[in-house]
Symmetry: C2
Subunit: 248 residues, 2 copies
Amino acid sequence: MKQNIYDNEVFFTNYKALREDPVNYNELLEQPEIKRMLPDLKGKRVLDIGCGMGDLARYCAEQGAASVTAIDPSSNMLQEAKNRNSHPAIEYVQTALEDAVMASESYDIAVSSLVMHYVAGYEAVIQSIHAALKEGAILLFSTEHPIGTARKEGDKWITDAEGNRLHFAVDNYHEQGRRETKWYVDGVIYYHRSIAALCNGLIRNGFSLEEVIEPIPDKAAIAKLPRIEHELRRPSFLILKARKAARP
Amino acid sequence: MKQNIYDNEVFFTNYKALREDPVNYNELLEQPEIKRMLPDLKGKRVLDIGCGMGDLARYCAEQGAASVTAIDPSSNMLQEAKNRNSHPAIEYVQTALEDAVMASESYDIAVSSLVMHYVAGYEAVIQSIHAALKEGAILLFSTEHPIGTARKEGDKWITDAEGNRLHFAVDNYHEQGRRETKWYVDGVIYYHRSIAALCNGLIRNGFSLEEVIEPIPDKAAIAKLPRIEHELRRPSFLILKARKAARP
């Protein structure tokens, strides 16, 4: 997350256009599950980690959250968030996730949408979040699925000469760590972690796992975006819901 | 598991030869992790689900378990188990997992090695195990990794013309259920389940997840069996350790 690709102008212009079209993978596949999995937000103090353009922060505020502290390292993102998604209950804060200084045992819910795969130090961030949550509080986050981040080289969907997708390619699964890809621009950095690492990083830092979700496109999503049907063929995202365990 | 391929003579003869060679995937990759993850066995009552030839049952007895109830549907397997792995603490019982009538809240530890992918009704079996365990008891099981069971057709390792493995193929991931394959004989049935289904089937039936392991071959294993190095490239097995939660 210390890389801040969202402040690259070429990247940001393209990314904004992608997210402005409501027919995209996040809106059709990931966000519906995140919203279903969130606990009742009324009167709750929410921490939104990597809030981006603030759509989810505003959703939380509109669902009755008492406060939403929405953090992001990108000034571009936060400017957009303030333009589009201002709300009296939301405070937008510019900070790298790794450096965020958060009040201790302050939040009822921490939510993070598709950010953890940009974080270099996963367990350190989980420990910070743990410290910032009240006992019994919920952490809900989504990430690119490890099956999608594993292979280092080449296109991950293997196609025939006509471009038909034959299968999805996995490789390098147990080589965890930094990956580099082209997404609008060269050199976008993300981090591959195994499913075991993601789960155990929660469990051994004081969380109990409550739900594990690999979102599946439904018929309505496929009607809006036919190629999302291929997401039935491989796991696209991983969403983990965990609770800060009571002290023994 | 109601299919009982292990009582097919062609299959069984081949399978026995495979397992008699200690240089195999189970012995090098899966069994070391299972043994590491088992809690202290001294004086404990152990249930071994799908015990096969009884090697793990005997290990548990030799580690000091007070009793090992070792169940399997295959008379071939149980005959081998009794021949090789008899022990005063072990009782071998022939029964289908789905039909096993187990005493209520009797066991401290349930262990099951590479059996769950043969079970048609995963959650029903988890519920039976839950009923058979004492409060606070451990369930530890390994299964073929969902990434390995997903694709319905074709070889899963994609190779070039010289037979070099290019990558591992994933497909049909969200189509859970019955799969058929050839393993020594045609028509070996197993069941594909998603990672989410395996984890949530534990959580929503009264278990808390304690550890998630995807075994990685170490240098010693690669020295003994060089082609096991490819198991660094994809997750081979999934091992889940869970605890029967205390009543609220």
